[in-house]
Symmetry: D2
Subunit: 120 residues, 4 copies
């Protein structure tokens, strides 16, 4: 199923239960933060190396579920605000590619990480 | 541009700058939480009604940028973990549709909100 | 019991269980974010007015517990980093009092909220 | 200066600027999450070892400032809700000491970390 299907299912889910009244952007942003918190809780006691292979452990299902929850609220928030989620990400990445050109960023990857490598 | 394009661009962005070393799931989850914090900061002093129309105000660009940043890190994290982000969301929503059937959830929408309407 | 008692109890708690190895600042910051997420989850579906009186409802115990959890991790993180938590807050507030003098901030409280009243 | 002084200064700060109207628990919780996000951003690209010594680096001031901001909003939120912040933490820790007795938790510290060492 696609991203558009997801946004549509979320609209139907909220409308069918008469929950739109609770879906103000403020509330959805708080719910998003709550789910990100649950995702962090899945990883917080792992070492970086353990986190790399977490999907090969019994924690995999929980991690996948929390990622799903985060995507649900992010998609719903973007939809309620009329923001094209994927395009917004693409546009931000384009800005970052301009601000962190490969020639400069690569040479100072080590330094950059200490200051603020804002984007992946 | 599509979701698959986004994941691919993010891979190339990180590899081109030799930043994969910093992209452990722990770090990406922290970066995700940081961006969600910035998104909340855009909405925190607004009333719910003001948040509904925020995209009609001067704050629109900031909100859209932060949503883009959140999607960037969520997509990158899912990709690094090998999780299909959209499918994970769909699967979680299917679980919620089963746990909150319309007949029950609608009749107690008011009550449900007071306890824990975990999903949209 | 005092704040100093709290920091001391937390040290003893971690040492007694041999959990210091998990208490790197990175992990403690993630745990802090996880608990803040749980606190937000207690308030996310409430209206602002309902949130004002939440401690008069059945949600009171959960809210108090989550606030306690957030304070636990914040105190532990500050202690592990050697930061005087209360003094750090006082110093930041002093900065804010200088940046947002009453004369200017009051007259534009309405406007300020729309831009970014960064401090209380 | 003490914790009580901090809560009192924050009350005066908000009242002097007529900002109490923005200090609903919902908004303060969102602001708290925003500041925790900024704190995480200070640590997100560091290795666990680097995070242990961060206060010996140029990032120290930023980390201390963000910890101060988190404490400001947590204190203000607790005060507005009438929750004794330090006592709430002590009470939660007492619960955890009962749920994770040293005899059991120590012997399985390694295992416990993989499941959910909820408290320090």
């Amino acid at each position: 199923m696609s991203y558009e299907d997801l946004a549509a299912r979320l609209r139907a889910f909220a409308e069918g239960r008469d929950w739109q009244q609770f879906h103000t952007p403020k509330n959805l942003a708080m719910a998003l933060a709550g789910e990100v918190g649950e995702l962090l809780a899945e990883l917080q006691w792992l070492t970086p190396e353990e986190s790399v292979v977490v999907m090969d452990t019994s924690a995999a299902e929980g991690v996948r579920a929390e990622i799903g929850d985060v995507m649900i609220y992010l998609t719903r928030l973007a939809d309620v605000l009329g923001v094209d989620l994927i395009q917004a990400a693409h546009d931000k990445l384009t800005d970052s590619a301009i601000r962190y050109p490969i020639e400069e960023a690569r040479g100072s990857a080590a330094k950059a990480s200490r200051t603020d490598p804002r984007q992946p």
